[in-house]
Symmetry: C2
Subunit: 482 residues, 2 copies
């Protein structure tokens, strides 16, 4: 581990923090403060020069008029004030031995030349005091392990996902959406304009971070393309990137958002393909691919079996698989013979895609046995299973996975997080529903067993192909599983 | 209206039905029966030749050993028995003056030559008795207005959507998913192998049905291509088609599912493009496009404004719009001046895509005013609004729409149907959540105002482009709105 790793790791392990921009009347600073309180960050102070009385508290946190009056060292400062005050605060931080400042404030490089000049001044001050800067125009760090946070009410549970985002809101929204799918973070980083610590620094950090198993990223542009390429070439953990600014309109929007230059999109695609980076185009895809790479089962070929209770989705899933370069597996004669014992003769199909018919609706054994026979077939490398909704039968798949260790992707036509509240009592009587509160835990268990859950057959097929690609096309094949 | 229309309409308005395949021990027939009971179909009988005692009831419905013993006319018969019994039942129906039979049973044409021969026999018998057949290998009709149903527990509310599906399970799953989005049906038709009444018949029927405003379809293949083309050319209602069998693997799967021949996919695309048919590739897309065409606002150009609380999604939405051939609108100077009064100077963007900054999180006026200023801008033809989740502020949009009547598509990063149950109490305290039970009603109101809700920015942009296309490219421009 190099100096850069230690410097970033030290920020994540700050023992004390002070926040500028919290006021009696409330505002964004207060929301950020609530985030740290919710995560039980050990030692928090508020700095507000307008509050000169002693012993004032806001949200239970003591207020000081400046850093010095705290009377003890502060590791990290969060700066959520009007941009015109930022420079003086950075100087104050430097003078008081602060190690790092997260500049939440926007209004710098993304606003043009004057903002860029202001950024240069900040960097100069930071260098002078050997202090690191995150931002400006960012949300900073979320790390449940050490109590750092974005917005309030995020999960306090740690997990395998490291995330890096140029956009603070994307990092924040992903943290909320992830809670619903049982996806937890080692660290999430929003770096905004990245004038000091930038994307490549954090990518390198997460690649060395033992708590991070996979890396997700949202980027508009990257400053040092050469270093980026060297990093993705070297990094063995799965990297999933949502790169925007694909079109001229998106590129223009990115420029006014964080001042980014997006670069030629074809070039990006070539780099991603060459080094096994998984590319996604929206949040829904990001969550699908994260799930698939929480614990991807190693696989040498991509002969897929499709199992569907209903026949229609089986046909569409076959299309989705072929469009994603997967090959429909030929089941062995033995498997077909065994399937005949369970699958009804009519309204079904014993050849792949396997349509287990409407009978499955009220015959749980049929579903379980089909999973087993098909999952154990030596001609089958991976499975796509189309469900109307997630049912308690998911346990059969987790048990089976312990024997077969093959990539499995589920499609749930009805969003898995939809609670039985949304349905009438009649529906609740007719169908086995999982309780909404239990769903994130169930998806977490599925993901940890190498089973991902998707909103449609195209994302399921894409996820499976990406796993195959990861192990076979990019020289990363022997790396994940010991 | 022609004879065909009357014949199909008569089936939908059957006064009495008898169902074969219900037993004391339960099974698929009993599930179907429960569907009709849930929809309060007026007069139902069970036929089971094995039950010869009198006054037997199953699920409260009287059982007879044959049709004749009922002692009164039966309009419609549902046949859910082993395929070997179907022929005799069809003869019995013909002899007893039944008008139509829905053959739920599978095991016919989709199983090969012998099955096809059996189908021909059935058609011959039906012709002899001037009786119409639906199926085999289908779910039949769902019509809340008259009490016909697929599976139990479907919505009893009628609506503007007519749906035709070769696959029974797709029709059934869509009916469930639609409930969550407040989408209601005029009629939904699952016709399976379609040996007598087929896809084109139902398409023509729905185009003439005054209760149907838009038509959704799931098809694997179509028997009479020429008639299909004539129909889509003529029909003025929006038609959304999920055509599967796109790839060789899908085509093969379709053949074993309903015995369909899919045909050249490029040819299909040409027909769809030429006649303004909206093509979708999965259930999620189907639901997005249905929402967009419940009440599509007429539009002459496709200059779009993007509004996003957070900046990241604004950039990605700009990509999604350009990829879907929409043009980013240049707001008027007046609009920009007005926006300046509300949108904060930093962490935001006043030019399109409009990033109203994180401030929007706790400033509802900011969001409302932005919608108004942008929505009323004469340079803006349509709007895409990216939300983290649906909030009670949706009402502002419905009010605005009464003044502007422009196509609006919302993206909700968190699935709209996710109930607050899924979140911790902290989240519930921090965010305004709509109660899960109210969501379908809210989406219904939004859809009726010409506002659709989507799971990602690509579907939102695709929906808006399809509306533009519908009014401008396919000669259907003056038809929907008077």
């Amino acid at each position: 581990m190099n100096d850069l790793f230690s410097e970033i790791d030290d920020i994540f392990h700050s023992n004390s923090l002070a926040i500028y921009g919290v006021s009696r009347k409330g505002g964004l600073g207060n929301i950020l403060l609530q985030g740290f309180i919710d995560q039980k960050f050990p030692k928090i102070f508020i700095i507000n020069p307008k509050i000169t009385e002693s012993n004032v508290k806001i949200l239970g946190i003591p207020v000081f008029s400046d850093l010095k009056s705290i009377g003890e060292p502060v590791d990290l400062v969060i700066c959520s004030v009007h941009p015109k005050y930022v420079k003086d605060i950075i100087i104050e931080c430097g003078e008081n031995g602060v190690k790092a400042v997260i500049i939440f404030s926007a209004g710098f490089g993304e606003k043009g030349e004057e903002g860029k000049k202001a950024e240069e001044e900040l960097i100069e001050i930071a260098r002078k005091y050997r202090m690191r800067l995150v931002g400006p125009n960012c949300m900073g760090f979320y790390c449940p392990e050490t109590g750092l946070s974005f917005f309030p009410a995020l999960s306090t549970e740690s997990g395998p996902l490291g995330f890096i985002s140029q956009s603070g809101s994307i990092a924040n929204i992903l943290a909320f959406c992830s809670m619903l799918k049982g996806i937890n973070f080692s660290k999430s980083i929003s770096y905004g304009n990245g004038i000091d610590l930038g994307f490549n620094d954090f990518l390198e950090y997460l690649s060395d971070d033992p708590k991070t198993n996979l890396i997700g990223c949202y980027i508009e542009g990257v400053k040092d393309g050469r270093r980026f390429i060297e990093l993705v070439k070297k990094i063995k953990k799965p990297i999933i990137i949502w790169k925007v600014g694909v079109t001229p309109a998106g590129e223009k929007a990115a420029h006014s958002h964080t001042g980014s230059l997006c670069g030629n999109d074809k070039l990006w695609n070539n780099i991603f393909n060459q080094y096994g980076v998984i590319r996604v185009y929206n949040l829904e895809e990001m969550i699908s691919m994260i799930q698939a790479f929480i614990n991807p089962m190693p696989v040498r070929a991509c002969r897929i079996a499709i199992i569907s209770g209903p026949g229609g989705p089986a046909v569409s899933s076959a299309d989705a698989c072929e469009m994603n370069n997967l090959k429909l597996a030929d089941l062995t004669k033995e498997s077909k013979m065994k399937l005949k014992e369970y699958i009804p003769e009519f309204g079904s199909s014993m050849s792949n895609p396997i349509d287990i018919s409407l009978q499955a609706t009220f015959d749980p054994i049929l579903e379980k046995k089909t999973y087993e026979i098909v999952g154990k077939d030596p001609n089958v490398d991976m499975m796509l299973i189309y469900l109307t909704m997630l049912t308690p039968r998911y346990k059969d798949l987790i048990n089976l996975q312990e024997e077969i260790s093959k990539p499995i992707a589920l499609v749930s036509a009805i969003d898995v997080n939809v609670s039985s509240d949304s349905f009438s009592n009649t529906v609740k009587r007719s169908f086995i529903q999982l309780r909404a509160k239990k769903v994130p835990g169930i998806i977490k268990n599925l993901n940890q067993s190498g089973i991902s859950v998707h909103p449609n057959e195209y994302l399921a097929a894409k996820a499976l192909y990406n796993i195959y690609q990861f192990y076979n096309k990019c020289g990363k094949s022997t790396l994940l599983k010991q």
